[in-house]
Symmetry: C2
DNA sequence: ATTATACATGTTTGTATTGACATGTTTTAT
DNA sequence: ATAAAACATGTCAATACAAACATGTATAAT
């Protein structure tokens, strides 16, 4: 389905970027729903260029260090818009290794289950705090046609998702701790 | 990390199964957090057998139809238990194409956004109803050491997650519909 | 009888993805 | 001065995964 292609084109719609900047964006801002290594990004940019969907200019920093700053072409923008307008089927529930473990937790003693659950709880809680800090930067809902509106929607989604996972983990801990059920 | 390996071993801990049955399980019961095609499962079973983690007996249905019923070995069980006890790092947030779209939704007119959001909403709502029906089969929390306890935990998790996605989608629709903000 | 569905097991091809390998420059802090 | 961190771009090998190809048998419904 070439999702990476559209993730890159979408970013380039905002403004021209280098591969390095795209990689950074994938591994910080967008990381709540997308990510990719530079080892995937550079070949994809090369391919997009060959397909005529992006162009680049070479920038020099210092004496010789070269950076290719990519710009989306007319054709690239058309392609992206077409993809963005498509109504796609709901995607498969993503794989989740921790849930897989919990599915098999009947094979663990109760103490271990609680230990594993609490470790996840702690980690997800930290994640949530980071997200909340980011959220504080928004004093109001950004205008609907700005890029920041999209950022805002997915940030809200990330926070809600994180809170939900935490609630589930707490419920699980509760079920594990309930004594003397029969 | 060979997660498929452990997903299969985990199932075989419960009782011996054929490849076909494992595939079915992956695409119905476990589907809320795991899935795999038979084209992945059969080669993996072969590999596990070569590694001595599973054995199989051949069963004949009717005249000649053969099925390999796999059983976990002592060694396989040890390997599985070791994996299950490990406290692993929280996994990366899964990729989500719809969120990627919403991230870029500044490029869409408001009507299209609402259309896309409502399409997702409808689909996730159907999914939720299916899950709730499954949940009705539990009149109480199953005993902690039964296989059904694990089933119950992940089913609860799936319902909560689904409800959360729906809440997010509704919030997004709300933000898109708000008129005359400035 | 015939047809559809479920049972049953495999291989092959193409794509996606990760992690490691590989190389170098520029800037910032000490 | 020098060391560390950030900038910058690429390739390669291994794994994971999906979709299609390939080939049948058994059972239930009509």
């Amino acid at each position: 389905m070439r999702s990476l292609k559209y993730a890159i084109l979408g970013l380039l719609c905002r403004h021209p970027m280098t591969g390095y900047e795209i990689a950074k964006e994938f591994n910080s801002e967008l990381a709540e729903f997308w990510y990719a290594n530079h080892s995937q990004i550079y070949p994809e940019l090369k391919k997009l260029n060959e397909e005529g969907l992006v162009n680049y200019d070479i920038e020099i920093s210092g004496e010789i260090l070269e950076a290719k700053r990519y710009t989306i072409t007319e054709e690239g923008y058309k392609d992206f818009k077409k993809w963005l307008n498509k109504d796609e089927k709901m995607q498969k529930t993503p794989k989740d290794i921790f849930r897989l473990r919990m599915y098999f937790s009947g094979n663990l003693n109760v103490e271990t289950r609680i230990r594993l659950l609490e470790s996840q709880h702690l980690q997800h809680h930290k994640r949530l705090n980071t997200l909340k800090k980011k959220y504080e930067q928004y004093s109001e809902v950004p205008p609907r046609d700005s890029d920041r509106f999209g950022d805002f929607l997915v940030l809200r989604g990330a926070i809600m998702r994180q809170e939900n996972i935490i609630a589930w983990l707490e419920e699980c801990i509760g079920y594990c701790k309930e004594d003397d059920r029969d």
